[in-house]
């Protein structure tokens, strides 16, 4: 019996792989070809709510950059990683304080970016980063895992109110409730020195952030992000980003401080 089990394991294509980068994800809708059916309806939990669980990455295509006779594969990257307001006509409504902050940050080439210094992947910025996010949805809580620094975020779904005058943290304090098939996440209590993108768009302790998550189908999720931060912006603004589900692979933890060598390269 033991020999039979060993034979089965060894005969399985994935057996012997040290990782699961291409291991088939069980229990997902597939086409006859075996490919994931990305257009299938969004899955639902036993209580009938949309199930947002899964691994997610910005919904941007790969493309090649070609010189004469030589092509480079471009890494997938959300444009919002550089400028979270890139799709907003007229750009983000910065306050004067924010404009001054950004002047300094631009002049310094972005070297004060907390992300450069391996600080945690704060949401909502984390949705745009070049690492995967995994959502684990339970009836009372949604847990959001992020590969960068192997970070986590808790979103309470048990009806509790947001805290008053909380101790500021990187991800703040989040609660969620359903409006139809959309999960509405409200967050407060983030730190006063956060960046929303590489170009240095600020977000501060005065912010109230709303994220509206809607799983359009199995393969696609839309997130409308609204930032109401009177210190950093003259009025609330909203952007919508798209996330594509990632299947037949795994999360790969990435501890930034392990071998960070870029800070020293910036001009002082």
């Amino acid at each position: 019996m033991l020999s039979a089990v060993l034979l089965f394991v060894l005969a399985t294509p994935a057996a012997g792989l040290s990782q699961w980068l291409k291991y088939p994800t069980p229990g997902i809708p597939r086409l006859a070809s075996g490919a994931p059916n990305l257009k299938a309806p969004a899955p639902r939990t036993p209580d009938g709510k949309p199930d947002l669980s899964g691994m997610w990455f910005a919904n941007v295509p790969s493309r090649d950059l070609c010189r004469t006779g030589d092509c480079i594969q471009e890494e997938r990257m959300a444009r919002e990683q550089i400028n979270i307001g890139t799709k907003l006509p007229g750009g983000l409504p910065y306050t004067e304080w924010s404009r001054e902050q950004m002047k300094t940050r631009r002049a310094n080439g972005g070297r004060e970016d907390p992300h450069t210094y391996c600080m945690p992947p704060n949401f909502p910025r984390a949705w745009t980063l070049p690492q995967y996010t995994r959502i684990v949805q339970t009836p009372g809580m949604m847990v959001v895992l992020h590969e960068f620094n192997e970070a986590y975020r808790e979103v309470y779904l048990d009806g509790r109110p947001l805290p008053e005058n909380p101790n500021p943290t990187w991800n703040g304090y989040s609660t969620g409730h359903w409006e139809g098939d959309t999960l509405v996440i409200e967050t407060n209590g983030i730190r006063d020195d956060m960046w929303l993108d590489i170009q240095g768009s600020p977000v501060t302790e005065s912010a109230r952030i709303t994220e509206r998550l809607k799983r359009v189908n199995f393969g696609l999720m839309q997130i409308e992000i609204t930032v109401n931060d009177p210190k950093a912006y003259t009025k609330p603004w909203s952007v919508t980003i798209e996330m594509a589900v990632q299947v037949d692979t795994q999360m790969l933890g990435e501890i930034c401080i392990d071998n960070e060598q870029d800070v020293k390269l910036y001009k002082k």
Binding site: Q73, R99, R106, G109, H115, I198, Q199, D258, L265
Partner: protein, 152 residues
């Protein structure tokens, strides 16, 4: 070492400028002069106008987050050995694009192109890597790429 002439960055900056607000345009132009792609940082520490191309022997591979590094021994014009240091995406990104930690080993002969660090003469961010047989390794594009407008 060769210098590669490339006007793409300037074109990208112009395209961005036409689409963005004045402040955003300034930032975009600034960033367009920076090879922004996969990194955990702005990459303004590299100068995309200072193209480098070297051929040499792998002396060390650092397969760690947040970025892998490849160190290459290169003979300069005087025949002296110079150790170049090339930054790559994270090992995780590389693994998802076909690399593994043994893809390049000490002693492998490779040709690397990239953009040089502004403040360090022997450090660059890799744009292309090819081994002795001409096999290309994914590096992630390290320049902003704006497609040419569609002709009407």
């Amino acid at each position: 070492m060769k210098t590669i002439k490339d006007n793409r960055i300037t074109r990208a900056a112009k395209n961005w400028k036409n689409r963005l607000s004045p402040l955003s345009a300034l930032v975009a132009v600034c960033l367009a002069l920076v090879p922004v792609a996969w990194a955990h940082h702005s990459q303004s520490e590299y100068d995309p106008r200072k193209k480098v191309e070297v051929e040499g022997t792998v002396s060390k591979v650092e397969w760690k987050s947040p970025h892998a590094w490849i160190h290459v021994d290169v003979a300069n014009d005087k025949g002296e050995k110079v150790n170049w240091h090339f930054e790559l995406p994270s090992p995780n990104t590389l693994m998802r694009r076909g690399w593994n930690r043994d893809s390049l080993k000490i002693g492998d002969r490779i040709k690397v192109t990239g953009s040089q660090a502004r403040n360090f003469p022997d450090i660059a961010i890799a744009t292309t890597i090819k081994d002795g047989q001409g096999k290309a390794f994914f590096t992630g594009v390290t320049e902003i790429y704006e497609p040419e407008p569609q002709s009407k």
